[in-house]
Amino acid sequence: MVTEPLKLHVPEPGCRPGDEPDFSDFEIPKAGETRKPDLKDDADTMRDMAFSIVRVLTKDGEAVGPWLADLSPDKLKSGLIDMMKMRAFDSRMLAAQRMGKTSFYIQCLGEEAVACAAQTVLQQGDMNFPTYRQSGLLIASGYPMQTMMNQIYSNAADPNKGRQLPTMYSSKEYGFFSISGNLGTQFIQAVGWAMASAISGDTKIATAWIGDGATSVGDFHAAMVFASTYRAPVILNVVNNQWAISTFQGMARGNSATFAARGHGFGIPALRVDGNDYLAVYAVTKWAAERARSGHGPTLIEHVTYRAGGHSTSDDPSSYRAKGESTAWPLGDPIERLKKHLIFLGVWSEKRHTQAKAQVLSEVREAQKAAEAIGTLISGNAPSTRDIFEDVFETMPPNLIRQRKEAGY
């Protein structure tokens, strides 16, 4: 028996600052290549799907293969607009944060397709359990941008009454569950929500969202166990954007595995999708939603994408990521890819794109103007001190009334 000293293995990303970005190890199937199993198929007949990537859009902007879905040009255009809005919104809010109008901001640059495409599959009454990087769900569901900004500015019209960090939105009406700052907690809550729908004999489904890094949390495991045991009507989304602050995704998974392969230990159908391919995300989400709604239970989807920006406004990725990694990312930019497809289809042009961009920017600006007219974090007109004490319970108990009075309210 060998008795050489053991050594701790600590995984390292392919490149760090100073290195040349290199994604040549990253296996990417051709668009259209990956098969589409039947909705009713058992998880154990599709284990291969967890090691492939569903892709629809080719390099040239053509949409091909079994996952090509029934999206009309109008729907595709509106998807493009959603993503463009999201990007413009992010860029304005990043700037607003830099100007001190709020304390903090998180953008989703480069990942717009994931949330924007997934949202369009959902129906009224379904519920997303998002992380802070799925603001696209709100944008694509037509939630007023100004209300989002009111939240970001913690102004008097903030639906959260100034209580939450910027971007921690909540909207029951728009099927967007209150975001928690504690990573992963919503994953099992989504499963519970979906179980409640099944218990109630309803037809609503839930979607759970989690980052690559956060798949490590215990709540992820709880969600897998409960979803599989009770066959909950839920879509379990892992957004693998390659990074968790400064930590690369390899730190959260085994060497030869994928995040999707986690499904295999639970008999949950699992697949990977090109997260920068609007059409692929749409198709895969639709497939999973239909499985859920027709009683076939949960699906695990790993969205393969890339966090093109910093983690948040508190983060500077240049100290831990190689320069140019973002542009070297082989799955490209979701907006550019959908735009190319629309041009390929002959329903879009560079010119229309430029017009649309201007149009989108003016909408975002208008929303911002309106929000700022109410107030920003520094301009005053914030929610009241009284609001600290409200909503701790439905009815304020005597000790809180006493404390509210102590606070002078």
């Binding site: 639906p159 209580r163 209150s178 907690t185 499963v191 929500w193 409640a196 166990v225 000790n399």
Partner: protein
């Protein structure tokens, strides 16, 4: 009808489920088997598998799923098999259940009940004996309740189920079958032969936030909850003290009025609990009483509690606050 505390709790579940089909009950071994203490016996058979079911062994998952269900609009009542096993669920309780209403500006709410057998006295060792109430009372957004008899157990549980916010429901397992008073070498009167075992079979609620003055007397105020109510009664009797004995029933919200009125009257106060002393709920009681009754207090408030150690197995009765310890401390409260 005469019921044990277990039967009263089962009955409360039964009535709640009958009255409101949004009430669902789950936890480890609570479905087919009816719970290791039988508090959910017969519910699965009566209401079906989708309203009462077993759960995987994952307390985080049980509470986390319940948070999602509560947000959906149904009413989960979950069992943690022993309070000692609630810690894996602590994040879901503290960061999620307790804060959902507040952080969402009232958009989402979290009406759920988390039941758990609590406390020692059954030779359960350190993992079947703990009293973690103070770990909940510190958390804004939670209510924390502990009944001491079948009548209250039913009424408080039904009130907890009706409550629009999360309630931690601690069941002193040493009282499941009768009012144990710390004299472990003597038999207990079973609830079936005790007045407090005479439970109304109809639906009723006992409001959260109201303490009960179980005995009245001018000598001192004794504040207790759960099992310690009976130990305090026995000790006061043996010490021949005529005390106001307050059974808190609900720790948050706290019935300050009853407490303050009593301490102002007696000028002396002893607080009894089974949990470890440091940062136990007795500290909070002592602090608020001191804040509110300072000029009425004749002697220092004393805390008689479990030691600041894990709960031992063989030395259980040296850990459990015994009638002897209570007597000795009550006398000190009187003497000083």
């Amino acid at each position: 009808m005469r019921m044990t505390m277990i039967e009263a709790i089962q009955n409360a579940h039964d009535l709640a489920m009958m009255q409101d089909d949004k009430v669902v009950v789950f936890g480890e071994d609570v479905g087919f088997f009816g719970g290791v203490f039988r508090c959910t016996a017969g519910l699965q058979e009566k209401y079906g598998k989708s309203r009462c079911f077993d759960a995987p062994i994952n307390e985080l998952g049980i509470v986390g799923a319940a948070v999602g269900m509560a947000a959906y609009g149904i009413k989960p009542v979950v069992e943690i098999q022993f309070a000692d096993y609630v810690y894996p669920a602590y994040d879901q309780i503290v960061s999620e259940a307790a804060r959902l209403r507040h952080r969402s500006g009232g958009d989402f709410t979290c009406p759920l009940v988390i039941r758990m057998p609590t406390g020692g006295g059954i030779f359960g060792g350190q993992t079947h004996s703990q009293s973690p109430e103070a770990l909940f009372t510190h958390v804004a957004g939670l209510k924390t309740v502990m009944p001491s008899n079948p009548i209250d157990a039913k009424g408080l549980l039904l009130a907890a189920i009706e409550d629009p916010d999360p309630v931690i429901f601690l069941e002193p397992k040493r009282l499941y079958n009768g009012p144990f008073d710390g004299h472990y070498d003597k038999p207990i009167v079973p609830w079936k032969k005790h007045d407090f075992g005479d439970v109304d079979t109809e639906y009723y609620t006992t409001p959260l936030g109201k303490a009960k003055l179980v005995e009245e007397g001018p000598d001192l105020t004794i504040i207790a909850y759960g099992t310690m109510v009976y130990v305090a009664q026995a000790a006061a009797k043996e010490a021949e003290l005529n005390a106001d004995i307050i059974d808190l029933r609900s720790l948050v919200p706290l019935d300050m009025e009853t407490i303050i009125a009593s301490v102002k009257k007696t000028g002396r106060c002893a607080i009894v609990h089974e949990a470890t002393r440091t940062s136990g709920f007795g500290a909070e009681l002592s602090a608020v009483i001191q804040e509110n009754c300072f000029y009425h207090l004749e002697t220092p408030i004393r805390r008689i509690t479990g030691w600041d150690t894990p709960y031992p197995h063989a030395q259980e009765w040296d850990y459990f606050p015994s009638p002897e310890r209570l007597i000795s401390d009550f006398n000190k409260v009187m003497e000083d």
